[in-house]
């Protein structure tokens, strides 16, 4: 069982970093949603806020690592100009060209929505902390931002998985 460096980076980018972000979303959403005055005590607020802040900061960091590793490590292999690159192979066949023209073209841009929005969400949780319990509007806005970040990451992740199936970035492409 051998994994070459390109495959390793593709796995790290998509199945490790990206997956951590997507899986942690549920916990982050539950944490933000549960910051409601009637549901928790003062001790509960302290306890949840610490976990929430750590979780949201971790998600933001992981989102940045995901897009940066994609942009500067995996994507150059994908778009290399030689005929064996994943992009060249997809574009050479009319039946698969749309995977690049739509799939990768969308994925490479929409992915960047996730870290930007996730960073804003983490900032709000750290800066306001307990105030989020009392400020329903701010909390709902934060949740909305968080959901959009997740949706962007999910789209990018799904397209990436399909693209890697259609044209794997293997040892030479």
């Amino acid at each position: 069982m051998q994994i070459v460096d390109r495959e390793l980076w593709t796995v790290l980018h998509g199945m490790v970093f990206g997956t951590i972000f997507l899986l942690a979303f549920a916990g982050g959403l539950a944490g933000l949603w549960s910051l409601r005055p009637g549901l928790i005590t003062l001790e509960g607020i302290r306890d949840r806020l610490l976990r929430l802040r750590v979780g949201l900061v971790t998600m933001a960091v992981v989102a940045w690592v995901t897009v940066l590793s994609g942009n500067y490590i995996v994507y150059p292999w994908y778009r290399a100009s030689d005929p064996s690159s994943a992009r060249s192979r997809l574009l050479a066949n009319p039946n698969t060209a749309l995977w690049h023209q739509f799939g990768m073209e969308w994925k490479e841009h929409v992915a960047w929505v996730a870290p930007i929005l996730a960073t804003a969400v983490a900032f709000i949780a750290i800066y306001y902390g307990p105030r989020l319990v009392g400020d329903r509007r701010l909390r709902y806005l934060t949740i909305a931002l968080f959901v959009v970040a997740f949706a962007a990451a999910a789209i990018a992740g799904l397209l990436g998985a399909f693209l890697n199936k259609a044209a794997p970035i293997g040892p030479t492409g």
Partner: protein
């Protein structure tokens, strides 16, 4: 019915005046305590609003740069800041820089203010939606 509700209304108005007066007293007291470093700063929602608007602007910037690169070869070549990654390197780096600059400016401008979050939400939603559209291939490829 009208004659019995008038004194009640008057009583409520008086109570409201009293509460507002107490609120001003409490705020003055808090301000004094803060000046003496004895109370934590009351955080206005302006900083949160700044973070939300700036994030929307960052997404819009990347979307706009994507469409501009599709529309113009010169822009596309100019955005090629790191050749292995191509124009994507310039779009995302410049978009991130714009986001951070706007955030820092908006944070310092709004952090001491209590702003209308409904307006912030609407404005941010529109900016974000346009940005997302501009990075959607069927849209930006119209400009190629």
């Amino acid at each position: 019915m009208g004659s019995s509700s008038a004194p009640r209304e008057h009583q409520l108005v008086e109570e409201l005046r009293e509460l507002r007066s107490k609120q001003h007293e409490v705020e003055d007291e808090i301000a004094e305590l803060q000046a003496r470093g004895l109370a934590a700063e009351i955080k206005r929602n302006g900083a949160g609003a700044a973070a939300i608007v700036a994030a929307a602007v960052g997404v819009f910037a990347i979307g706009l740069l994507t469409t501009l690169a599709a529309a113009s070869e010169d822009v596309k070549d100019w955005l090629n800041w790191y050749n292995p990654t191509g124009p994507l390197s310039g779009k995302t780096t410049l978009g991130t820089i714009i986001w951070l600059v706007v955030w820092i400016a908006a944070h310092y401008a709004l952090r001491r203010n209590e702003v209308n979050l409904n307006k912030i939400a609407m404005v941010s939603a529109v900016i974000l939606a346009i940005g997302l559209l501009l990075m959607f291939p069927p849209i930006f490829q119209l400009f190629e």
